[in-house]
Subunit: 110 residues, 2 copies
Amino acid sequence: MTKRTYICGLDAAIAVMGGKWKGLILFSLGEEKTLRFGELRRAVPGISERMLILQLREMEASGLVHRKVHHQVPPKVEYSLTDFGASLNTALAPLGKWGEDHMERIEAIP
Amino acid sequence: MTKRTYICGLDAAIAVMGGKWKGLILFSLGEEKTLRFGELRRAVPGISERMLILQLREMEASGLVHRKVHHQVPPKVEYSLTDFGASLNTALAPLGKWGEDHMERIEAIP
DNA sequence: TTCGGTACCCACATTTTTGTCAGTAGGAGT
DNA sequence: ACTCCTACTGACAAAAATGTGGGTACCGAA
């Protein structure tokens, strides 16, 4: 994640959405317009709170997601995609479809 | 990379092409039809021999690449995309374009 | 006999990523 | 006074990914 020049567009794209979780977070936020922290956690099964926060912070720093804090008690924080994040989501759609189309084959890989 | 059921297509896709290198290998093999091991290493700058082999082995196991050994001395091994790999490559194209379109912004991320 | 060239393999060390568990703030409800 | 709720934060440990430096096989050429 260090600043450098990438060797191609795919390289750059993977640098921002890479890892196991960011794609799923993008996907979840793409379905629902905004999600609270707890809702997101439920939307991405298997992720730990810590991981979710870390990923969200990175995505916020990358300009992919927007974080809106409502100063209430108990706290309420809503996350949503920025335009930048939405455009990435769109670019990821064919990959998601590919995964669905080949789900059985992929699950059969040892 | 353990066998399990994925929560969506994107999840599954990321499981097979995940990591920093596989996308680039796919991309390189998509440009040239076949590449020898050494050529591939040069095509993916920064990757170590070990990493390249590990990734290629995984991709072979996933059915993304085909490995053809020519029994010669010195050895010659050619790698190419399978149809499955080519289809993934196609699905990755929009992501690559997204990366190119936003390269400057991505490079500016700390 | 020694060397060059290619595609690896192996053991080990380091780095990066991910998980676990505990704890915090502060107003509302009992 | 006490507990609940939510969105976190931090210390620590475990696991996974990656790098490093070596070695192997084989044949032909010098």
